[in-house]
Symmetry: C2
Subunit: 165 residues, 2 copies
């Protein structure tokens, strides 16, 4: 699918997809994130993790989300106008940690626009729902979610008035 002519809500089409990544999962960073935000044994310690369903040291699920976000923001910086036209996410639905993420993994992601909703109360914006999926180096999905994002609408132009004359 070709790139939209702008990233205003009006110019985005259901089905449009962009890729992001890669994300290299660094062991020291996995440990540092877990120590501060998710100090459970299977995120901190090889031996403890070996005795759990993860089988070995795995990243915190919230760390996977954070790494995903970092790679998405990097991608947006290559999309001129995106950062002006996106108003941020209201929330997330259907987040699923589908497989563990391990140090040494190399992840990449896709975002697909799955739904567009005009705002009844705020005519200057619309809502977009995006399905984001992260896969690992074996093409296995590790994380998926649906984000609910506010996006500016294309500002009214003077075209209508121009046509009168």
């Amino acid at each position: 699918m070709t790139e939209p002519q702008s990233y205003y809500w009006d110019d985005l089409t259901v089905g449009w997809t962009y890729d992001f990544g890669p994300i290299e999962v660094d062991r020291e960073e996995v440990l540092a994130f877990a120590r501060r935000y998710d100090p459970q044994p299977f995120h901190l310690d090889d031996e403890a993790a070996a005795q759990t369903h993860f089988g070995r040291l795995a990243a915190s699920g919230w760390h996977s989300c954070a790494m995903m976000m970092g790679a998405m923001v990097e991608r947006w910086q290559q999309m001129p106008g995106w950062q002006d036209q996106s108003l941020g996410a209201m929330g997330i639905d259907e987040l699923r940690w589908r497989r563990p993420v391990f140090p040494g993994d190399r992840l990449r992601g896709t975002c697909e626009l799955i739904e567009r909703i005009a705002s009844r109360t705020r005519p200057e914006m619309g809502i977009n729902k995006w399905r984001t999926t992260l896969i690992n180096q074996n093409d296995e999905p590790v994380l998926s979610l649906v984000s609910i994002v506010m996006q500016k609408r294309r500002p009214p132009t003077s075209t209508a008035d121009d046509e009168k004359y």
Copy 2:
């Protein structure tokens, strides 16, 4: 509601609630998280944030989730047996960033068990759904979500056999 006799799936009751926190939101940490995982201007820069709907520098939504997790894990460490009986979260539904989280905020949270589902395929575990809410120092909700958590079932005892004799 009184504390359950164990944290096995069988011994938890819909409506049981526990509190966690407080979480002190540190400005330097907000900036460090954003630089690594969410480098958007409103998470990085006071002046840029002042021009957005946040009004001033706000924490990344993923940082709020990570801080929530850290405070929950700390709370679980005070609940003997919890860490053995919880098998981790499969995912999250209905995550909503309801208000910005600002440096200097003091947050606290509650987790309420809202649904219990026995597993048809894995008799050794059940599924619990918890509604987690974070509020700030003004009692305003800033974050809410529903987590889907796997929990061990109480192991079979020899009681049945004992009764034969």
